[in-house]
């Protein structure tokens, strides 16, 4: 009798723990979101404190806290230094139990945090950074690249300009991961469309004076001067180009990455006529306008850039996935986010690909003339819409191992992904081989078959 009661009690406890364990898979009972951004330097206005506002708005709009979950949003300044960003990411993941990092403008920092997130099995939702390598050779099962990337910018802006006659290019490039990726992707688009790159110069990040580089661009006689930089660098280049009579001399500037806050800082008289690509503009429809109004009230009147919109959209989708899975395990949530289609008031309906690339349409915009603008933030007119399936680099071209695996399974083996994963894991179990040792280890242990 004693033996039986003991076993019954043990069974009872095990059952209770089992069900408790199944429900309480939110680590430490808090979904902790870390907004890692540039809070003090040249990218502050396009991301920065506004990204924190966007993340908090997403948490509120998701209503997840009313359904019993606890969510916390913290933030930090990576100062555009990969070592500082890495240290913060490590500390957040190890000590502060952060579950997901969002935003991270500055591709150098993003690449570093990308690697750390993979090692720790957490989640990384990139809105601010641009390098297309995040869904290319540096792709991981833990990262989703949300808002835009250098390939989309190159294809949208570069393609449009070459097709309208701008066939010789000179690049002024910010000399770090982002600028180099943007220059590489745009040069590829230019050459593919029959144009020629006649020269370029690499400039240190956060440079104040571009007069010397603009002079070199002038003497190259290229029709288009491509600005492969962002934020303060771009606004300085454009302002100084006006001084040196670049446009009067017959050349044109191509701002490859320009944000709403840059145009606002330049002023319409200087920025008018600039053509570039973005994936969000606050004045596109009633839903975006409503969001912009709420955002501006919380962020000193600044209207949201596409980076802010991306943080909002990514966090919203992340919380949906966490609720569906009842877990905040990074690798699993990212896999779930790829499974679920996205839908939010800012980007509309979209999806996340196997290589971590979020898909949505892109817009070719032109800056209005001062006479056409009816408000402080009424700055763009939409020239064209690039449909979602054409806006981003085809998955097969990126060189991402995750994409290759999925393509191999679905196209070559002709198998449904779920079936394939079941077969692989069964085989491994039968042979009592540890996943790391098996010859097919790579297939079973990636999030493609997240277990």
């Amino acid at each position: 009798m004693k033996g039986w009661t003991g076993k019954l009690v043990a069974l009872g406890i095990a059952a209770a723990l089992g069900t408790a364990a199944a429900q309480a898979q939110i680590s430490d009972n808090v979904i902790k979101i870390g907004v890692l951004s540039d809070m003090s330097s040249l990218y502050t206005d396009l991301a920065g404190a506004g990204s924190v506002v966007a993340a908090k708005m997403a948490v509120e709009d998701s209503g997840i806290e009313k359904r019993g979950y606890k969510v916390e949003v913290i933030s930090a300044d990576h100062q555009n230094k990969p070592d500082v960003g890495s240290a913060i990411a490590r500390q957040w993941y190890d000590t502060e139990k952060v579950d997901v990092i969002v935003d991270t403008p500055n591709s150098g920092v993003a690449l570093a945090v990308n690697q750390i997130t993979k090692d720790k099995g957490k989640a990384f939702l990139v809105s601010g950074a641009a390098t297309s390598d995040l869904t290319g050779k540096a792709c991981t099962p833990n990262t989703i690249h949300w808002t835009y990337d250098t390939w989309m910018l190159a294809n949208g802006t570069g393609g449009a300009i070459v097709k309208t006659g701008g066939d010789t290019w000179f690049f002024i490039t910010a000399d770090y991961a982002f600028g180099q990726a943007l220059e590489r992707d745009t040069a590829a688009v230019v050459t593919k469309n029959g144009g020629k790159v006649v020269g370029g110069v690499k400039v240190p990040l956060n440079n104040q004076d571009f007069s010397s580089f603009l002079l070199q661009a002038q003497s190259s006689k290229a029709k288009i001067i491509g600005l492969a930089n962002a934020g303060g660098d771009t606004t300085n280049s454009i302002k100084q180009a006006a001084e040196f009579g670049i446009v009067k001399g017959g050349q044109n500037l191509a701002g490859l990455l320009v944000f709403l806050t840059d145009v606002h800082a330049l002023g319409l008289p200087t920025a008018q006529g600039l053509i570039f690509t973005e994936t969000f503009y606050w004045d596109m429809n009633d839903q975006t306008r409503a969001f912009a109004k709420r955002f501006a009230e919380r962020d000193k009147g600044i209207h949201p850039t596409m980076v802010h919109a991306g943080v909002y959209s990514a966090v919203l989708h992340y919380l949906k996935a966490v609720e569906a899975l009842k877990s905040d395990d990074g690798t699993k949530v990212v896999a779930k986010m790829k499974e679920m289609p996205t839908d939010d008031p800012l980007f509309g309906k979209g999806s996340v690909r196997a290589d971590g690339r979020k898909i949505h349409p892109a817009y070719l915009v032109e800056v209005k003339k001062p006479s056409e603008s009816k408000g402080e933030w009424d700055l763009y007119k939409i020239r064209a819409t690039i449909p979602a399936d054409q806006a981003f680099r085809p998955m097969a071209d990126g060189g991402c191992p995750l994409a290759k695996q999925q393509l191999f399974v679905t196209t070559v083996l002709g198998r449904d992904l779920a079936d394939f994963c079941a077969i692989v894991t069964d085989e491994l179990r039968e042979w009592s081989v540890s996943a790391a040792d098996a010859p097919f280890a790579r297939w079973g242990s990636t999030s493609m078959c997240a277990e």
Partner: protein, 286 residues
Amino acid sequence: MQALYGQLLVGLINGAFYAMLSLGLAVIFGLLNIINFTHGAQYMLGAFCAWLLLQQGLGYWWALLLAPIVVGAIGVVIEKTMLSRLYKLDHLYGLLLTYGLALIFQGVFTNYFGSAGQAYRLPEEFSGAFNLGFMFLPRYRAWVILASIIVCVATWFVIERTKLGAYLRAATENPTLVQAFGINVPRMITLTYGFGVALAALAGVMAAPIYQVAPQMGANIIIIVFAVVVIGGMGSIAGAIISGFALGVVEGLTKYFYPEASSTVIFVVMAIVLLVRPAGLFGKER
């Protein structure tokens, strides 16, 4: 070859900014021995003052006159209330105080104005450029070189060749003796600090039309200006001016031949100069 001339001229323009800024710093650092890290923030204050004046309808020429006075007055207040208490202590305390002040100014302005900066339109008189054949020289940049040379030469003249300047130089070498002669040394130091700050603000106003008026504009340039003053030699006004122009040209040439190094070349030069002549090119060993 033509492209090279253009680069040299552009280097000279940058050098003009460095010279004007390092002049103010040389006066404060070299003569008063105050390590004024706020110099960059005061340059930024000058630019913002010009922008604020523009919002009130007062244009560029008013700003050239008023901004240095306003910011100079702020400098005088800083000196009287805070810096003067630190003279008896190690110089590093002055460094800490001024660095802290710089961070405060920068933070407050970033909070109210954002980091993207404000647009300051070029005054109409300066639009257009001189076609020099090898390059277009914007009228405004030509004015910058001219104004900078005038200000630098005038300041050098006052300090090195007039009685007032002689009193100042004497006061920094031996304050007690000079005070015994009946000269109000503390007031002289305060006004000199204010003058150095006003020079920084003047450079800020001149920078406003061509660089974005942004809170970080000072932080980016202050380190270079310190390097210029060190290379020129502490205590030497002429040294700071000549080094400012020369280093502008060196940086311009580097941007032409090897642009990736353009943000570090000045520090390489500083390291070499300190190894060979620790007191700077024109300085005197103390």
